[in-house]
């Protein structure tokens, strides 16, 4: 188990280096940092002066190494716009995104897992059809449209929930549902298919032959095996919710990292953009790593090879 974890960790670190290199190259190719700092009305002489004083005239590789050295010490540079350390700018926004992602994932799991189990227990029954219909809607409906629908119904007409901002927990309900409903169908289908397979297996028949209650057969013996593939996908979905909440955060004007990413890109704030991409990939890597470890922990065939 330990060597397995270590191996996965080393791979994760390598991926991180590659991602940082690609990110650095691409953002510097897309945005001229000197021009971005100089601003709209600057003359080309001003831009060149800035290029020299900031050291942007050095080769890309040299700048990358310098940036990486600082990044490894936790210094990701300063925001061109806010004139503050990038780390501070992001940390300020991170809690909103984490809370939104966490609530969305919780909503997706609470909705999809029980529904999937009920559907798998009685394939082709009315509950299975409802589950299928629900999955179809979730996959067919664009997130932004579902979000707008939610705003129209619950904020504008019913006036139950706020439509924009991220001040209170009530502000998170609509966005979390919109984001979570997008992820739920995949989890539901995966869980349902896994559960149907597992329920037909010999060891479930053994569990029944032992006279265990149906609840114990399903929730202990079947669930533990059927949930394995769901764990990895749920982790990736969570990463998506953290990184991909740009649209939702923008629609609901939530002060999260996604909204920050949109702002930084439109303002050519290169250090912040870079740092966000890097942070999201770090989150992805950490999540897949922990999903693999969780899987190994749940499945003794991996844990004890």
């Amino acid at each position: 188990m330990l060597s397995y974890a270590l191996r996965r960790l080393i791979i994760g670190v390598l991926v991180m280096f590659v991602v940082s290199g690609i990110t650095f190259t691409l953002t510097n190719a897309a945005i001229d940092p000197a021009r971005a700092i100089a601003g709209e009305g600057a003359t080309s002489d001003d831009v060149e002066a800035i290029r020299k004083s900031y050291g942007f005239d050095r080769p890309l590789a040299a700048r990358y190494v310098a940036w990486l050295g600082q990044a490894l010490q936790g210094d990701l540079g300063s925001s061109y716009r806010q004139r503050r350390p990038v780390v501070d700018v992001i940390m300020e926004r991170l809690p909103v995104t984490l809370k939104l992602g966490g609530l969305a994932l919780a909503f997706a799991l609470v909705l999809s897992i029980p529904l999937a189990i009920a559907a798998a227990l009685r394939p082709n029954s009315w509950i299975d059809r409802i589950a299928l219909l629900f999955a179809l809607f979730g996959q067919a409906m664009p997130t932004f449209w579902f979000a707008l629908l939610g705003i129209v119904v619950f904020s504008v007409n019913l006036r139950w929930l706020p439509a924009s901002g991220s001040g209170t927990t009530a502000h998170f309900i609509l966005p979390a549902i919109a984001l979570g409903y997008y992820a739920a169908p995949t989890l539901m289908r995966l869980m349902r298919a896994g559960m149907i397979d597992v329920l037909a297996s010999d060891y479930i028949r053994t569990a029944r032959a032992k006279g265990l209650s149906e609840a114990r057969v399903v929730l202990k013996h079947a669930l533990r095996n059927a949930v394995l593939p769901v764990v990895s996908v749920a982790a990736v979905q969570f990463g998506f919710m953290l990184g991909g909440s740009v649209v939702i955060e923008t629609i609901f004007a939530m002060q999260g990292v996604g909204y920050l990413a949109w702002e930084s890109i439109s303002l050519s704030d290169l250090p912040v953009t870079q740092a966000i991409v890097l942070m999201i990939s770090l989150i992805y890597i950490v999540l897949t790593l922990s999903a693999d470890l969780l899987n190994a922990w749940l499945d003794p065939r991996i844990r004890i090879g």
Binding site: D202, T206, A209, L212, R224
Partner: protein
């Protein structure tokens, strides 16, 4: 004395795209306390479905009906779910064919043994663990206490089947139903497992319903034998009587084509019964074996009587045993002479 397990006119029907598969067609059997009944028959004749029907473990789509299905007087067909679940794993336990897939890969051996007992008895975990260790030792597993923490994938097939047997014994059952418990194992392991079952039975007085297609197994462990063909019981009786005086042509054919240690001459050619098993979809007119039977005549297309040939020895055939006794004698003489 009434039997421990009573089955009368059991039917199992499964809807299929080709029509309704009538897999078990009026099986009647009984198992008394402490005895071993072996059910034999070719692949697909409904042995497994019969055992699953008794345990109430049929696949969801299968439908079961019976004139009587009772365990120690408790009605298994009409009884409450709770009462039946209370018997399962407790007073009647089951061992399956494939030990590689019959244990849950996600939980330890100990956990799976202990939970059986905790589900049925008001005992503490420690007491259940003690019993698990004791039984693992009893079924011949060394270092039993250490095995409790292991997972199924860490054990060989033979060991897993021993674990399955220990699991069946956890609550001290009156009846064990074993569906081909040795088919998936190596020959040497097969013999060990069979000996274990026989010893346990002698020691604990458990009744065993053993399903097999190996007549060698029957010869070693059975008190009584039931021969199934195409979902019906064609002959049943004490194992001595059936082996000495097999009456149904199918039983004779089976005995003729499967080597039995000490009975079949060594190196005699392994035969197979010519012909194919009739489809189990729809009704079968008359005797299901008639198409493959060398003694078939007009009466075989009508209603087939069940003849009693001796105490508990019955055969479902139109012919009286002595009708083809002479023919069989010449045939077997011919076989040995070859």
């Amino acid at each position: 004395m009434t039997a421990l397990l009573e089955v009368d006119d059991l039917h199992v029907r499964i809807p299929t795209p080709a029509g309704e598969l009538h897999a078990v067609r009026g099986i009647s059997l009984s198992v008394r306390r402490g005895e071993t009944l072996c059910i034999v028959g070719e692949s697909g004749c409904g042995k497994s479905l019969t055992s699953l029907a008794i345990m109430g473990l049929l696949p969801r789509e299968a439908r079961r009906s019976a004139a009587r299905l009772a365990f120690d007087g408790v009605d298994l067909a009409g009884g409450s779910r709770r009462a039946i679940a209370g018997l399962r794993g407790n007073r009647m336990a089951m061992i399956f064919q494939d030990p590689m897939t019959s244990l849950n890969p996600a939980f330890t051996i100990g956990d799976q043994l202990v939970e059986t007992m905790l589900a049925h008895r008001k005992v503490g975990r420690a007491a259940a663990v003690d019993r698990a260790v004791h039984l693992l030792e009893r079924v011949g597993i060394a270092a039993a206490a250490a095995r409790l923490g292991q997972y199924p994938h860490q054990l060989s097939g033979g060991l897993r089947q021993r674990v399955m047997i220990a699991m069946a014994l956890m609550c001290g059952p009156d009846l064990i139903i074993a569906d081909e418990p040795t088919t998936a194992l190596d020959v040497t392991i097969q013999a060990q497992i069979l000996r274990l079952l026989r010893d346990l039975q002698a020691e604990l007085g458990i009744a065993i319903l053993l399903i097999t297609h190996d007549l060698g197994v029957v010869a070693r462990v059975a008190d009584r034998i039931g021969v199934m063909y195409a979902g019906e019981m064609v002959e049943e009786g004490a194992v001595g009587a059936v082996f000495e005086r097999p009456s149904h042509p199918y039983t004779r054919a089976l005995l003729g084509c499967i080597p039995i240690p000490g009975r079949t001459p060594r190196r005699s050619p392994l035969g197979a019964i010519p012909g194919i098993v009739p489809s189990l979809v729809g009704t079968i007119q008359g005797c299901a074996f008639a198409g493959r039977c060398t003694h078939a005549h007009e009466a075989c297309a009508g209603t087939i009587p069940v003849r009693t040939l001796g105490a508990g020895h019955r055969s479902r055939c139109t012919l009286a045993p002595d009708t083809f006794e002479a023919a069989a004698r010449t045939a077997s003489l011919g076989a040995i002479g070859r």
